[in-house]
C-alpha cells in the first residue's frame, strides 16, 4: 500500500516536472556565452596589457604576472565597492566570475555585506563565506600536486 501511494506521488511529481519543463523560460545560452566571452576576454586582454607594460619597464615575466594579478584584484575590489561589479556580473555571468577579478569580487562583496555585524563576527568570520570553498579545495589540490611533483620528478 505504501509503495503504491509512493509510486503515485512520484508519478504526479514526474508529470509536474514535465509541465515545468514545458513552461519555464529557457536560459538565453548563446547570448550569455557571447557576453561571457567578450567580458572575460576583455578582462584577460587588459591583464595582458598590464603585463606587457610592466615588462617594457624592465620587470621579468613572473613579476609582471604577479603585478598584473595585484592590479586586477585591486580594480575588481574597487568596482565592487563602487557597486558596479555586480551590474557587470548580471550580464557577463561566468565572464566576470571566472577571472581572478571574480574571486576578488566574491571576497569584497562578503566583507561589505557583513560589516554591519562588526569586524570580528561579521567581516572576519564571514569574509570567505563565498570564496571559502575555492580556497579550501585550491589549497588541497595544490598540496596534492606538490606531493605528486616530489614523487615523480627525479
Amino acid at each position: 500500500m505504501d509503495s503504491l501511494s509512493e509510486r503515485l506521488k512520484q508519478a504526479e511529481i514526474d508529470e509536474y516536472n514535465q509541465l515545468i519543463k514545458k513552461i519555464e523560460p529557457k536560459p538565453p545560452v548563446i547570448k550569455n556565452c557571447i557576453w561571457a566571452f567578450i567580458v572575460g576576454g576583455l578582462i584577460c586582454v587588459f591583464g595582458q596589457l598590464i603585463i606587457n607594460f610592466l615588462m617594457s619597464n624592465g620587470w621579468n615575466q613572473t613579476d609582471a604576472g604577479s603585478g598584473a594579478s595585484v592590479i586586477l584584484i585591486f580594480l575588481a575590489a574597487l568596482f565592487t565597492g563602487l557597486g558596479l561589479y555586480d551590474e557587470l556580473g548580471k550580464y557577463a555571468g561566468a565572464g566576470s566570475i571566472v577571472p581572478i577579478t571574480g574571486f576578488a569580487n566574491a571576497i569584497v562583496a562578503s566583507a561589505m555585506e557583513f560589516k554591519r555585524e562588526g569586524y570580528i563576527f561579521g567581516v572576519g568570520a564571514r569574509i570567505f563565506s563565498v570564496a571559502g570553498p575555492t580556497l579550501v579545495f585550491g589549497f588541497t589540490i595544490a598540496v596534492f600536486i606538490g606531493l605528486l611533483n616530489i614523487l615523480f620528478t627525479k
Binding site: E12, I13, Y16, N17, L19, I20, I23, E24, P25, K26, P27, P28, N32, T80, G81, G83, Y85, D86, E87, L88, G89, K90, Y91, A92, G93, A94, S96, I97, G102, N105, A106, V108, A109, S110, M112, E113, F114, R116, S129, V130
Partner: protein, 336 residues
C-alpha cells in the same frame, strides 16, 4: 454552530471589517505601475537607519502606525498585533512590536504570512475575543537577499525563473463594527504541499501546486464556482508560477477559468529587471494594501480572493538536499 465548512474553510459569522490599511514600499516598487497607490514610497533602502534589518522593521512599524492613525487610534487602543516577516526569528516583526507596545502574536508562513495573519486576525475578531486587531507583514529585498542567497554586491547572473524580493510593508486594521466595507467573509487554510522541487531560484514552480490546491479546496468547501470572484490573486508565484497555476487550474477542472492574476507579476513592469516577478511577504501585502483595497473601496472590485503563497524552506535545508515545501492560504474579501 461550527463556522468551519468543508475540510479547510472557515466562514465568518459576522465578517470583520477592514477599516483601514496602509502600505510602504521601496524605491523600485514605487517606480512600478502602482507607485501612486501606496501610502509612502521610500527614497532609499536604508530609510534613515544603519542597517537594512532596522529599515525593514521601521517600515513595518510605520505601516502599522499609518493604518491605525487613519482611524484616529493610538497604538495603545489596538488590542492585538499579528505580524511576521521573512527573516530568521521574524525579527522585523518582533522589533516593530517592541516599539509599538501592542499585545503581539508572531507569525511565520514565509511569503504567505499576509494571508495567514489576516485570517488569524479575522478569527480573533469574529470569535469575539478582540474587536480591534492589526495584521501586518514586511519584506526587504536586501535583508532577504543576504539571508537566503548571496552577498548583494556579488556579481552573479540570475536565472529567468528567479524572483525579486519586494521591499514593502503592509498593514490592515480589522474591526468588529457594523456597517462599512470591505469585509473578510471566509478563509481557507492551506496544506503544506511538496511537489519535489528543489531549485531555490525557481520558487514559483514550487509554490504553484499549493496555490491551486488551496483555491480548489476553497471552491469545493464553499460550493462556489470560480466566477464568484471578480479577481483571484496569488501572492508571489511570478510569471513562471502563474503560467503553471493556469495549467493546473485546467487539470483540476476549475471551470470557468477564474479571473486570475499574481501580485508578483503585477507589482513591477517588464523593464524593471525582476526576471520572473516579485516575491516576499511584501509582494501580496503591497498589492493588497495599495491598489487592490483602493479598488475595492471604490467598488471596482467587489469580491476578491487573496491567495498568499509561501515557500517554507531555509538555506540550511536546501544545502542538505531537501525539496521545497510550500503553502498557500486564501482570504476572501467582499463588499457586502
Amino acid at each position: 454552530m461550527s463556522k468551519k465548512q468543508g475540510r479547510q474553510t472557515i466562514v465568518f459569522a459576522s465578517p470583520p471589517l477592514i477599516s483601514s490599511w496602509a502600505s510602504l514600499v521601496g524605491p523600485k516598487e514605487g517606480e512600478g505601475p502602482w507607485g501612486e497607490d501606496f501610502d509612502q514610497v521610500l527614497h532609499d533602502y536604508l530609510y534613515d537607519e544603519q542597517t537594512w534589518e532596522k529599515a525593514e522593521s521601521k517600515m513595518l512599524k510605520e505601516a502599522v502606525k499609518q493604518a491605525i492613525s487613519k482611524r484616529y487610534y493610538q497604538p495603545s487602543e489596538i488590542e492585538l498585533l499579528i505580524s511576521g516577516d521573512l527573516l530568521n526569528q521574524i525579527v522585523s516583526a518582533n522589533y516593530a512590536a517592541r516599539e509599538l507596545s501592542i499585545p503581539f502574536l508572531g507569525m511565520y508562513g514565509a511569503c504567505s504570512t499576509m494571508a495567514e495573519s489576516m485570517l488569524t486576525a479575522a478569527m480573533a475578531v469574529d470569535g469575539g475575543f478582540f474587536s480591534c486587531v492589526v495584521a501586518a507583514v514586511s519584506s526587504h529585498h536586501y535583508t532577504a537577499e543576504r539571508q537566503f542567497r548571496t552577498p548583494t554586491e556579488q556579481g552573479v547572473q540570475k536565472s529567468a525563473t528567479s524572483q525579486w524580493t519586494a521591499t514593502a510593508a503592509g498593514a490592515v486594521l480589522l474591526e468588529a463594527v457594523p456597517g462599512g466595507n470591505p469585509r473578510i467573509t471566509s478563509a481557507t487554510i492551506g496544506q503544506v504541499i511538496d511537489m519535489g522541487q528543489s531549485d531555490a531560484a525557481n520558487m514559483g514552480s514550487a509554490m504553484a501546486p499549493a496555490a491551486v490546491k488551496t483555491i480548489k479546496a476553497h471552491f469545493d468547501d464553499l460550493n462556489r464556482s470560480p466566477d464568484y470572484y471578480d479577481l483571484i490573486v496569488t501572492g508571489d508565484l511570478g510569471k513562471v508560477g502563474m503560467a503553471l497555476a493556469q495549467e493546473l487550474f485546467i487539470r483540476e477542472g476549475l471551470l470557468p477559468q477564474p479571473n486570475y492574476s499574481d501580485c508578483g507579476v503585477l507589482l513591477y513592469n517588464d523593464r524593471q529587471d525582476v526576471n520572473s516577478g516579485g516575491s516576499g511577504c511584501g509582494s501580496s501585502a503591497a498589492m493588497l494594501c495599495g491598489p487592490i483595497l483602493k479598488k475595492m473601496s471604490e467598488g471596482r472590485i467587489n469580491r476578491l480572493l487573496l491567495v498568499a503563497t509561501g515557500a517554507l524552506m531555509s538555506p540550511t535545508t536546501s544545502f542538505q538536499g531537501e525539496t521545497i515545501p510550500s503553502i498557500a492560504h486564501a482570504v476572501a474579501l467582499e463588499n457586502i
